[in-house]
Subunit: 279 residues, 2 copies
């Protein structure tokens, strides 16, 4: 006859094993916090006995009544998105090797030149750059390719369709937003349409502007980055500057490729020489 | 005589205005959740009357007893770090224009070649790449420059001191860690020391390996990225491939520069030509 007091008979939280010797609890249904506390304590005892390492608890926002109980049990926050909170308890005495939360925002800036050598520029309605003619910039969405993000931003802000050419440069800056860092990719874009239709909510005005006029509005207060935009444009147009262009490398389960960006011209130099030799 | 019932006399949460027409509440001291609820409700009424937009509440983890109250008042999570949770309520009926949480992890891969054309490679103790000779890779810490991150990773894993040369390529991949994306910068590094001392906890072995041997372990199962590493090494060594190298652009309040990375060789092409003409 089974002993009713064995730990096998204590009810525990539903959990799945992860690949790193830990467990993941994904709470979904409403639960009284006292019931939850009892289950969590029993589960933690069991997981400790089993030598589990990281214990993850994911709480959707409608279960915010359980956050306090999880924290009191020794968990810390790992990350949060608008509709859920992820908490982590690292059981071993060793250092927690779990990667930290995402640390960077990825932004894109679009350098769009027409065949008169004019650049597509906008004025924003708000913010510290208000009144200044600047290139279209924006944040790459979660799960979005850099190439797609910059095409979307230019279209949204100016109505102009563009094709991605290459990354001319990128910058990294810290403490941009709640202590997070930013990588900004400056992208060379080829315009496929020319008639401007601005996004009324964020953009005050948009136009095609000669590079000299863009350069003329620079002041000593301007960031050096803005000066590089002009230098890079000129280098690209006048003397064949090579940026990084994308090639697919792997394909995910949804059939979407990942991309590697590199100096395709320089990588292909020898191949081209060989082709020439073979002719 | 003042009317004691005017809203000016109701106690409210301590808040500071932000630059975008919103307010920020940073809770620090313990507070009973009923007291907190009363103050929050009074504060929200006041902020709505004042036409405030985003209301931010930052709760350190020792105040997890207040999370449920904030959520019940209509807030969503914005982001969390181990020791705090940030909640947001967007009051206007318009779309919330507040940037989302950080979306990317930034990683570095170190291509370190000695003057015999051998590459510094490691074998990891754990993970899916266990047993494979691979380049040193690692995550850039929050607030850390890419250049500093890759020097640190190589030193930690192999004991080798290196100097940053340039970014040869970068890749972007999605759904790497809790739905977040990753940007991996492949960095060319110049070794300043050669004697290997491995980090015992994560690294099984490290060595200098001829590029042919590295190439020989490739299989059809390998990601295309690995093949590009060889192509990029060869292009760099044999025919002067130009990657992106860093230049300082701005300096933050702590005196630390931000960097822009670009094809310095191509940008300086004309300047060099001019110099030559002037000679």
């Amino acid at each position: 006859m089974m002993d009713q007091s064995t730990s096998e008979n204590v009810q525990r939280l539903p959990a799945t094993d992860d690949e790193f010797g830990g467990v993941v609890v994904e709470m979904k249904e409403h639960m009284d916090s006292d019931v939850f506390r009892t289950l969590l304590k029993a589960s933690m005892s069991q997981w400790k006995l089993q030598g589990k390492k990281g214990v993850w608890i994911k709480l959707p926002i409608h279960l915010s009544n359980l956050v306090d109980t999880v924290v009191k049990e020794g968990f810390e926050y790992h990350h949060a998105e608008p509709k859920y909170l992820m908490l982590l308890c690292w059981i071993p005495k060793t250092n927690n090797p779990i990667p930290a939360n995402a640390s960077h925002i990825v932004r894109v800036g679009a350098i769009v030149l027409n065949d008169k050598g004019e650049m597509l520029v906008v004025q924003e309605k708000m913010g510290i750059l208000r009144g200044l003619w600047k290139i279209s910039t924006g944040t790459v969405h979660q799960g979005e390719d850099i190439t797609a993000g910059v095409i979307r931003e230019v279209k949204e802000e100016t109505g102009i369709d563009t094709e991605f050419v290459e990354v001319l440069a990128f910058s990294q800056e810290h403490n941009v937003f709640f202590g997070k860092s930013e990588v900004l990719f400056l992208c060379m874009m080829c315009p496929l349409s020319f008639e401007i239709q601005i996004q009324e909510t964020e953009i005050e005005a948009a136009r095609w502007m000669p590079l000299e006029d863009y350069e003329a509005q620079l002041s000593v207060q301007e960031q050096v980055l803005r000066k590089y935009i002009i230098e890079l444009c000129k280098a690209k147009v006048e003397r064949g500057y090579s940026g990084f262009s994308p090639s697919p490398v792997t394909t995910d389960s949804n059939g979407n490729p990942s991309f590697i960006y590199f100096n395709k011209e320089d990588l292909n130099k020898k191949i081209l020489d060989n082709s020439v030799n073979q002719v």
